[in-house]
Amino acid sequence: MSDVVLAQSTPVTTEPRLTRHILIGAVLVLIMVLLFAPLIAVFAEALAKGWMASVGSLASPDARSAIRLTLTVAAIAVPLNAVFGVAAAWAITKFDFRGKAFLITLIDLPFSVSPVVAGLCLVLLCGANSSLGAWLIAHDVKIVFAFPGIVLATMFVTFPFVARELIPVMVEQGRAEEEAALTLGASGWRAFFTVTLPNVRWALLYGVLLCNARAMGEFGAVAVISGKIRGETTTMPIMIEMLYNEYLSVAAFSLAAVLAFLALVTLTLKSLLEWRHADLLAATRRH
């Protein structure tokens, strides 16, 4: 990845110092205005009436259930997507089969489909007016407007993250090491766990972190399928919009601050990872 290459810092441009400084300065200003200012505004709004009001609003049952729901959804959707992502990347890079290009396109589908459309598709598929939905209702299984629907919508939207991170790394690594392991008598599983997985572990972790950030923040698809039952199917992003619409600014921004904080934790983990293991990352990626 380019950022890792940059970290090795051999100047690749011949522009004069001034040009470089102006360009870097412009980018910094842009980042400040576009990324930092809104983030600070969120925290400022949350604390507009003091710490007590902010913390008090987070202790309300609605806010607590939203936080719990979001974390639970992420705790289910992210590991499942990690497993699916590894399986998909493995199948695509280590084997040749018909329809491989089609499978790659399919994995990318959630990136190109609007989340709202994804949510609507689930409602159409499992809603009361579909035959599947009617069957589910007859067997007392709740999908749409309930917890399973929210998990499904989140999984759909975050599906590509892990696979997309893994595929380029695995393509670069080729199959030679696995083939060697197999020739030496390792079983398929053993080759996977002792050769393939260690080779991609940083890319995998990176994909999981991105996937997690997105899973917690997903709004569109979840909004369609949640039914907005207060304290029951309202994830943090949904609850934030709701509170804002109810003129409860402090509560809305406090919850938004928690969500932003969770995202920042994820990003920090990612950066730590890159910093601690820059050599390893670079090695596995340029292998």
Binding site: V123, A128, I137, V144, F145, I229, R230, G231, E232
Partner: protein, 324 residues
Amino acid sequence: MAFGGTAPAHAQDKVEILNVSYDPTRELYRDYNELFAKWWESQGHGTVTMQQSHGGSGGQARAVIDGLDAQVVTLALSADIDAIAQKTGKIPADWQSKLPHNASPYTSTIVFLVRKGNPKGIHDWGDLVKDGVQVVTPNPKTSGGARWNFLAAWAWAEAQPGGTEETAKAFVHDLYTHVPVLDSGARGSTTTFTQRGVGDVLLAWENEAYLAIIELGADKFEIVVPSVSMLAEPPVALVEGNIHSPGQKAVAEAYLEHLYSPEAQAIAWKHYYRAWHTSAADPKDVARFPDINRVSISHFGGWAEAQPRFFGDGGVFDQIYSGN
């Protein structure tokens, strides 16, 4: 039942019901749910938990049709409840005769919210189409309030000297060319107008307009009452097809009937709805409403007729809005 004694709801039973409602009723039902839960327990029943869902009225009806498990619906207009009744059969066709006052425990009307000092000089519907005036109103396809807004504008235009269906249609067409953005629900439009500062006038539920002034400051906005508006009757209904136990049925029925109790009516008055009974209401809550000439939906032949004619596929709204 060998031992007889079929008590409808045991004291220890915990019942949950979901009320799927429209946008501006959040504060009303927050208070009413508390009142009802206390009253229900004081009657010797078990504890009851009310869950709430709010959004644009049409969208909420759509969600119930798609399977949202609401035991009661409290929506912005009867056409949305009719839609649930027709598409799912979970509500009987004659639902509106099951509770008093067309199953509408409270009424409201449509007023204008303008910026303090009324800088654009907006006093009646005709002023909305003056040059440079921007009007904020939600999408009639998804919002109940927006449909009342539309019909109020139509009723005013028709009542003008020489007014006909043609002039009314021309007026609403003109009106919607002044609308920069159509939000999906009433509350979205209110935040667009008040917090994002878009537009010169918000066509709003009366209760929504009062609430915006209370929440955001009387120094920022004021209410303008037009010469003609609608008698908006937001109705309520039991979704019989979503009742899962006798206990739940008892709670859901009582929940709707108790809306007509003097105490609940007082809450409606307090939240700026024009309710029916004033006996328990704070007289100040009742006195603050100005008299408005309110046109009933029956003027348009009821919602069963008005809904397809104005807001159905290819209806009047589609004709005038695609022309923008």
